[in-house]
Structures are given as C-alpha cells and as structure tokens.
C-alpha cells in the first residue's frame, strides 16, 4: 500500500544539506513529490517539508536514513494527516470575454486573490491545503491554464506544542 507522507526535517542551515537530503532520496530510489526548504525562527536551523510516497517499510527506511544524516536534527513524520498542511499556487489563466467573470467567481469561492491583470489574463494567488489547490486547478483548467507554480506543501503539527515538545 503506497501512502503519501508528509515529513518535516529540521536541518543545520549549512553548505550542502539540501544536496545530502536530495541525494539520499535519489540514491536510494525514494520518491519526492514535493520539497520545500527555508530558514526557521532559530538561527542556523532550516526546515524542509518533504512529501513522499512508499509502503511502510520504505517510509521507515526514509525516516531512519534521514535521521542518520549528521546535519539532520529532527525528523517528524506526520503520516497521513496529523498536521496542518498549506501550499500556495500562482496560476496564470486565460480570461477573455465571458470567462473573465467565471474566473472571478472561482477565485471568490476559493478565497484566492487576483494579483495581476491583463485584458487577456488573470494571475491568481491561491493558498490552502494541497487538495484545495488541486480543486481550484481542476475548475480553472477548462478555462485555459497558461502557467502554474506551486510551492509544495509546508506542514506544522496541530496543538499547542512546538516541535521541541
């Protein structure tokens, strides 16, 4: 059974860390659906969010192998949904004549924003859980999707506790 898993990896903000993590996935044949990385509130510490797939054994190996990297400080496997996940997408969509109004309605329903306008197009900023992004894309696609950029998911645990507990 292949599950999609979201894994947070706290890493030293050091030279080559991204290459080590990415190399681990490619070298051992693990999948990466998306990967984001940016600094955290703590100096010298970056956080990666990796969305990956695999059966139970593969996911166990992924977390163990990540933990084994010297620059990895903590690995949090959120499993299938114990975390709040958000993603942002920038979507350039054709918007002419009657479709202009349709795009605006969709944007409104999804509480997205128009961030650039031309007589022939809208550029939309949409934020939400990855499934919500999938949903807005599905509605916009028939209207003429010109370009799409997704950030990949970021995730944070629910509740009052931070990652240190």
């Amino acid at each position: 059974m292949h599950h999609s898993h979201t894994i947070s990896v706290l890493v030293e903000n050091e030279f080559g860390v991204l290459a080590r993590v990415a190399g681990l996935f490619s070298g051992r044949g693990f999948n990466i659906d998306s990967l984001t990385v940016a600094p955290t509130n703590e100096e010298g510490l970056s956080r990666m969010t990796i969305v990956t797939r695999g059966d139970e054994n593969v996911l166990e190996q992924i977390t163990k192998q990540l933990n084994k990297l010297v620059d990895v400080i903590k690995v949090i496997d959120f499993g299938d949904g114990s975390a709040i996940e958000r993603e942002m997408a920038l979507i350039k969509v054709t918007a002419e004549d009657e479709s202009r109004a349709e795009v605006l309605r969709i944007v409104d329903i999804f509480r997205a924003k128009i961030i650039d306008v031309t007589p022939k197009s809208y550029t939309i900023e949409a934020t939400g859980a990855p499934v919500k992004i999938d949903a807005i894309l599905e509605l916009l696609r028939p209207l003429g999707l010109k370009e799409l950029v997704r950030t990949g998911a970021v995730a944070i645990g629910r509740g009052a506790k931070g990652w240190k507990g």
């Binding site: 890493v11 080559g16 190399g23 070298g27 084994k68 010297v70 990895v72 400080i73």
Partner: protein
C-alpha cells in the same frame, strides 16, 4: 599563538593521536607537506598511487581499530581516493580523508586540478566538511574523527582549499565535541535485552549470525563468552571472520554464497537467529523469500537503518554490540535455572549440526601434481603465527582464504566485503604492517587483483614493510571465469589473462624477494622461506587453473540450494 591553516591541521591531527598518515603531495596540499617537515610526531608514508594510500589507511584502521588518515591533492589525486573511500564506506571503516582543494575564490571556476570532491563523495562518506576559515579547522578535525569512529564508523572527508592552508589563525582545540544532529544510540534498551534473553532461552534451534559490527565494536570477547554460555552455534559473515574462534566446536564457519554447508543449513532450519552487527546482505541471505523460514530474528545493530532493511525482524535492539552483548551476559546471570534447561534442549540441534558438518565439510581434492589453492591457504595457517594478519583482494582466493584459513582473532582478516574491491589487499596489508611492524602480515591475492596496485611494492620496500604476498596464479580472472563456466556455457569472455607475468622478476625489480613454485611438494618450503625473510616477499604459486570455489549458492537461489560439486 597564530599559525597557518596547514599547521593548524597537523596540530589538530596530533591532538587526535594520529601518528601515521598515508598521502601524496601536490599543488593544493604543498603547504601541508611543507609544515609536515616541522611536525616530527606524525610519520608519513608515500604510496605510489593515491588509491594505494587510501587502502593502506583503511588497512591500518581495520587492523588497529584507530582512525586511518589519508591525504591527497585536489583533482586527480582526490578522485584516485574515491574507490578507497567507497571501500571503507561499505565496510564501515573509520577513516579521515583530507583532500586539497583549489583556493576558495577559484572554486566553481573549473580551475586547474579542481573537482567537486564533496559532491563526488557525498554518497560514499559518512559526512564531509569544506574548510572555509582556518579558525574552524580544530573543530572540524575533532568532529571528523568523532563521526568517523563513533556509532557505525565510516569515512569522513575534509576538503581543504589551499588559501585556507596559508591563512593564519589562532589554534584553539575544542574541549568537547557536540553535534546536535548526531547522537549515536549506543546503549541497548534493557527491556529489549530482557525480551531477547527470554526468546533465546526458549529456542530449540538457535544460531548466532555474526558480522563485522562485532569486530568494529571490539566485542569479540563478549560474543565468544555469550555463545559458549548459551552453547549457541556461531556462523560469521566474511566481515565477521575472526570475531569467534573458528577452531571452537560451536563454530559453523562462514555462511552465504560460498559458506559452509553446515552454516547455511543451520540458518535455514533455525528457529531463532541472533544477528549481531550483521546486515543480512544479499550474499548472505540468498533468496530472501525462502531465507530462514522458521526463525524468529533478533537483530542487534548500532545503525537503525540496518534493521528491517532486507528481512523482517521480530526483536530489534539498537545499540553498540559490545554494550548489548555485555548486558545479555549480565541478564543471563539471573537465569541459571532456565539456562540449564536450555542446554538440555539443545542436544538434538547440536546433533543435527554435527551431522551437517560431517556430511559436507569444507573440502577439496588434494593433488600431487598441481598446487591446489586451498592447500596453500591451509599451509599458511599452519606455518604462520596465531596473530598473523591476512589481507586479501577480491575473488576466488578471497573465498578460499575465508573458507580454509581458520581465523582465531578479531582484526586478523582485512578484506573488502561490501564493495568487493580488487587491488585492495596489497595496500591494505601495507597499512597493517605499518601499524604492526613486528607481526606477520600476509596478503593473499590473485594474479588479476595484485596487478591493480602492484606499484605499492615500492612503498613496502622503501618503508621496510615486510609483507608476505601470496599470489595464487591461475592466469585467469578466476571468479568471473567460474561464473562463465557454470552459468555461461564456458564462454570465457575476457577472463584469460593470456600474458603470463614473471612475478619473481617483478618483485626483484622493486627490490623485494621473489619466490615461485608450481609443485605441491614445494609449497611448505616456499612459505617457510618467505616467513623467515625480513623484508617483503612475493610468493607466486601456479595453481590448478580451473579450480572452483565450492560450495556455491547460485545468485538468486535459496541458501539450502548449494552446489556442492560441479
């Protein structure tokens, strides 16, 4: 006191207790070599090729348990160490490799002799460091050695740009090493140990399956004590040879593709496998689906990624094997009655095993007309000291050495088990001999592999390293030839060496002693003469050309599907 980066490096190595390094100078390490003339405490051996130097540092590490150190210049010097680094990585050998790098401002510019060494070695190092500032060197060296030798050991690379070697800084040795992302879990969990003991006491057909992790953790004494207390039969992997004395009645000898019949049968029929510092490699398990179908598996390993990587495990114990085995011994002290009961229950199993041992011992057909390689190995054991160190290359001779030498002590077999590197034996033997000038160091190799690092004969002669090199010469790349014979209809594609080499003359050209025989009756005399000589000796034995390594589990077959005679 301020000093240049090169000197800070050497002072740091001194603090780590380094007294011997293997290295090759060049443009981007010339400053280190200049400073080396001022540092008498560090002995330096110049190999004839960086690969040889790296394997020598590896051999030194395997024989001593200390961290081996190799130095190479940037570019080709560094890339020549890659096979050596990968070899050490696959066998978890503690090493620190220092590669020169072009000056920091030139990095990325395709400068002369520039290569992205950190990038190249990322998948084959435990960790790596790029030195950017001379004041960071002591902390980097301290961390590199700590990472290399702790937990599951492995090679660590320090890439050291030339301008940082020249720049000045204060030398300040850090008192402690603390890496927040690296805390190896060494202490085995007591509850898991208790559970393991109760499983072990309930076993009827137990086997201890022991790998190189026991040798790396210096846990051979604990292992031997535990096996004898429990009367558990012991089989070792290639890397585990020496962790349990093979002349002990409990020894099953090596298991796996070329393992002993009794060892593979015991694994297949066991109801409990106690895996200690071993990783269920494909050469050991054969076909995974039919591997040890009746056994519960307890797996002790310091590296959590080794556990459940290839086989299901019923009870994992993450921890240093020495610590876990010691805890097991203590726990057993509390279980005298159950232990007595266990020993009674094992009688039938011991009888099964004796039966397998008698039915198909490791054996070969002796000949009076042509030298059998197995005979040479047996004679080596008979004529060498108990603590003699043997290094091997990779191939048929390696398997014959593993099967017939009978290892008694840990760290007496230096062999490339994981990567399977031809050309490893000769320089590894050199490294071990440099560490132990007084001990017998024997290198067993074939006529193929020995030519891959033959140039190190010069290093041995120059540095008075009296390694005894045994070439089992069949004028074939024998292991591949064996596969071609068995699985490719005897189509010997590119495995006949065709040009016979005069290894005696070659030895003499380097200033070493050369001996040769093709007569079985002369084998003993040649070995005696070589062992008595106080310099390096090359012994060339012309052996039965098409002798095969048997038994053999064909790739992909089950462990109990051994080819015994072919």
């Amino acid at each position: 006191m301020k000093m240049n980066g090169a000197r800070i490096l050497l002072e740091s190595l001194k603090r780590e207790g380094v007294d011997l390094v293997f290295g090759y100078p060049g443009g981007t390490v010339i400053n280190i070599y200049d400073e080396l003339m001022n540092v008498r405490e560090i002995r330096h051996i110049l190999p004839r090729h960086e690969q040889g130097g790296t394997h020598a540092a590896d051999g030194y590490a395997r024989a001593t348990g200390k961290v081996g150190v190799a130095i190479a210049t940037s570019g080709p010097g560094a890339t020549n160490t890659v096979t050596g680094i990968a070899t050490a990585y696959m066998d978890s050998i503690p090493m620190v490799i220092i590669s020169g790098q072009v000056p920091t401002p030139l990095i990325g510019n395709d400068a002369f002799q520039e290569v992205d060494m950190i990038g190249i070695t990322r998948p084959i190092t435990k960790h790596s460091f790029l030195v950017r500032n001379p004041k960071d060197i002591p902390a980097i060296v301290r961390k590199a050695f700590y990472i290399a030798r702790s937990g599951r050991p492995g090679p660590v690379l320090i890439d050291f740009p030339k301008d940082v070697q020249i720049a000045q800084a204060e030398f300040k040795w850090p008192e402690n090493v603390d890496i927040r992302g690296y805390k190896p879990n060494l202490g085995g969990h007591p509850r898991q140990v208790e559970k393991a003991i109760s499983m072990m006491l309930a076993a009827r057909r137990p086997v201890m399956y022991v790998g190189g992790g026991v040798i790396l953790a210096n846990a051979a004494d604990e292992l031997t004590a535990l096996a004898r207390r429990l009367q558990f039969p012991v089989t070792t992997t290639l890397m585990g040879l020496g962790s349990f004395p093979e002349n002990d009645p409990l020894a099953l000898k090596m298991l796996g593709m070329h393992g002993a019949y009794a060892a593979n049968m015991a694994m297949t029929h066991s109801d409990l496998i106690l895996a200690v510092g071993a990783r269920f490699d494909d050469r050991v398990t054969g076909k995974i689906a039919t591997f040890a179908p009746h056994a519960k598996i307890i797996h002790i390993d310091v590296d959590p990624t080794s556990i459940r990587k290839n086989v299901r495990v019923d009870l994992p114990i993450v921890g240093d094997t020495k610590d876990v085995l010691a805890k097991m011994l203590l726990e057993l002290d509390k279980q005298a009655a159950s232990l007595k009961e266990l020993l009674k229950n094992l009688t039938a199993w011991h009888e099964d095993i004796s039966g397998w041992k008698e039915k198909h011992p490791l054996s070969y057909k002796q000949s009076t007309s042509v030298i059998k390689p197995q005979y040479v190995i047996q004679k080596l054991r008979e004529l060498s000291n108990d603590d003699a160190i043997m290094a091997t290359d990779v191939g048929q001779h390696q398997m014959w050495a593993a099967q017939f030498f009978e290892f008694h002590q840990p760290r007496t077999l230096l062999t490339s088990g994981g990567l399977g590197t031809m050309g490893f034996g000769l320089p590894a033997a050199m490294g071990a001999q440099a560490a132990f000038p007084k001990r017998q160091v024997i290198c067993v190799c074939g006529d193929g592999g020995v030519q891959m690092n033959i140039q190190e004969l010069a290093t041995m002669v120059q540095n008075r390293l009296p390694v005894k090199i045994v070439i089992l010469n069949n004028n074939f790349l024998g292991m591949v030839r064996q596969w071609q014979e068995l699985f490719f209809d005897k189509r010997y594609s590119q495995t006949c060496m065709e040009l016979p080499i005069d290894f005696v003359k070659l030895a003499e050209a380097y200033g070493a002693k050369g001996l040769r025989t093709e007569k079985p009756a002369e084998v003993e005399q040649v070995i005696k003469e070589a062992l008595a000589h106080n310099g390096p000796v090359v012994m060339e034995f012309k052996i039965a050309r098409e002798e095969k390594v048997l038994p053999m589990v064909p790739a992909g077959a089950s462990l109990n599907e051994m080819v015994l005679n072919a």
